[in-house]
């Protein structure tokens, strides 16, 4: 095998898989390139908590031996990936970016880790997160916050912050994130990558540190929609030992990926975006997405979501209550172990009442039915996931109560699959993002629409300048 690697970003999952299958690319060379990029960019981005070089090199040699021996496992075999540091990987620490778990070594793989390992992927390292996938960027933790590769003065979004940075800058073609209120889609949006929050129950959460049992999802961040489809094919499936896992057949995510959007019905949530205080640049970018989809043959119609305040009341009550239940003991006995912002946001859950929690769960069912009803007339929804480009990191809201009403947590409340993907660049050079949302367990349609838009719009060609080593 030859190694025809440039000094630029690593190839996508799809491209790497094709080249490995053709004998044009070596897993060992690909892994060395990923490790070199990870080491070179770590001082600028702080994307990793741990780079697992020895383990990666050993895995790459095994993969290369298997592939050259005619035992290629599939399209992901021999390709590097990374894990948000709330995912267990046997023998490695899972710190959740926290002093609370600073010495916590996993004895087994998370189910998702095991699935990617079984597919032959090569773990390059554990990635930065907001502490326990909540809180915000904090400087009073054992590890610094990740930085946005488009402009390192800016926020990556969170909580899958290292995952967004590492994929955007081309260290990794796939990084795992988790999404309880937007934590896959927000870093994807701010870092200009694709990020899919699958339907609740579609991908196992076993072996991933919990934040909120009834809202947590796990899923991929990648550079392209096609790569998300490839990753989902390996990740999706029923896990009988995950109480939230759904026993629903897995779609073929690539079968109709290239079918286009002719005749597809797209519900554009323009009023919801205005309700969510989306800025003019982001709004204009979304209008262009709707226009582009119409040009491609989709039928775009305006639809109305329920008021964002109802979703936020649900999301915040449920998330704060469940996360306080998980962290109550440490919050009461060793609160100094958390960053201030994490500690204060987690504590808010202790101030809620049982009645508020039950009412939020009742309203959640009502809101889910209302969104389901929209899918009787449309195939996907198009909506904002961020109000505008990434804010400056040091100016990120670090108070106990988030001022900005999140837009992403709407579909954690309802459980629908939701994908963020690039849809433009703001005047300050930072990415803008669109969100496509589908029916429960219909990730395939979300991917098909996203893929058609991605091919037509061409944002996929634009990487952050820092991705070129030496920039």
């Amino acid at each position: 095998m030859s190694s025809d690697l440039s000094s630029l970003a690593l190839p996508t999952l799809a491209e790497a898989g094709r080249r490995i299958a053709a004998g044009e690319l070596s897993p060992v060379a690909l892994t060395e390139a990923a490790l070199a990029r990870a080491e070179a960019l770590q001082p600028k981005l702080d994307a990793f908590i741990e780079i697992t070089a020895e383990r990666a090199r050993a895995a790459a040699k095994r993969a290369e031996k298997e592939i050259t021996g005619g035992r290629r496992r599939g399209p992901l075999h021999g390709i590097p990936y990374g894990l948000k540091d709330i995912y267990d990987a046997a023998g490695l620490r899972t710190t959740a970016h926290s002093r609370v778990l600073i010495d916590n070594v996993a004895t087994t793989d998370a189910v998702t880790t095991a699935r990617l390992e079984a597919a032959g992927m090569i773990l390059i390292g554990k990635l930065a997160t907001h502490e326990f996938a909540t809180g915000g960027p904090a400087w009073d933790l054992p590890f610094p916050p990740a930085r946005n590769p488009w402009n390192t003065d800016h926020f990556t979004g969170g909580s899958s912050s290292g995952s967004g940075a590492a994929v955007a800058v081309g260290i990794l073609p796939l990084a795992m994130g988790s999404d309880t209120g937007g934590s896959i889609r927000l870093p994807a949006a701010y870092c200009g990558t694709v990020g899919l929050k699958p339907t609740y129950g579609r991908v196992s959460r076993r072996g991933v540190a919990p934040l909120c049992y009834s809202l947590d999802t796990t899923g991929p961040l990648t550079w392209t929609v096609e790569d998300t489809a490839l990753a989902m094919q390996a990740l999706a499936g029923h896990d009988p030992l995950d109480p939230g896992s759904a026993d629903v057949p897995v779609q073929d995510y690539r079968a109709h990926l290239r079918d286009g959007v002719k005749g597809a019905r797209v519900g554009y949530c323009g009023a919801f975006n205005r309700d969510g205080e989306v800025g003019p640049e982001q709004t204009a970018a979304l209008d262009k997405v709707a226009h582009e989809l119409a040009k491609l043959g989709a039928e775009v119609i305006e639809v109305a979501l329920p008021p964002n305040a109802q979703f936020q009341a649900c999301a915040r009550t449920i998330s704060h209550s469940e996360s306080f239940a998980i962290h109550a003991d440490v919050l009461r006995t060793r609160p100094e172990l958390y960053a201030r912002v994490t500690r204060e946001r987690l504590m808010l859950g202790g101030f809620l009442t049982a009645t508020q929690y039950v009412q939020a769960q009742r309203l959640r069912r009502i809101l889910t039915r209302k969104v389901d009803a929209l899918f009787e007339t449309v195939d996907v929804l198009l909506t904002a996931v961020i109000p505008g480009p990434a804010p400056v990191l040091e100016e990120t809201d670090d108070g106990p109560w988030r001022r900005q009403q999140p837009l992403a947590s709407v579909f954690n409340v309802t459980g629908h699959p939701a994908m963020a993907q690039p849809c433009g660049v703001a005047a300050n050079g930072l990415p803008l993002s669109a969100q496509f949302v589908g029916r429960h367990f219909d990730e395939a349609t979300v991917l098909r629409v996203g893929h058609a838009y991605e091919l037509a719009a061409g944002w996929v060609e634009k990487r952050p300048r820092i991705a070129s080593l030496g920039a």
Partner: protein
């Protein structure tokens, strides 16, 4: 901020069993107030048949 919410906050902190340093008391009390403002929507009456979304499903085992 209404006085009754200030009293509520002190009671909520005691019930939660957490300690808030004096220099963070005001920001946390403000956050509590903001949260209660948002959650007023949960006081809207619901029909008897509106059951919670998180009902147990015993067909899948415990």
């Amino acid at each position: 901020m209404p006085d009754d919410l200030t009293d509520d906050f002190a009671a909520a902190v005691r019930r939660a069993g957490v300690a808030i340093p004096p220099d963070r008391w005001e920001p946390m009390r403000e956050a509590y107030y903001r949260m209660q403002e948002l959650l007023k929507v949960l006081d809207d009456p619901l029909a008897y048949e509106d059951e919670p979304a998180s009902m147990p499903r015993y067909d899948r085992g415990a």
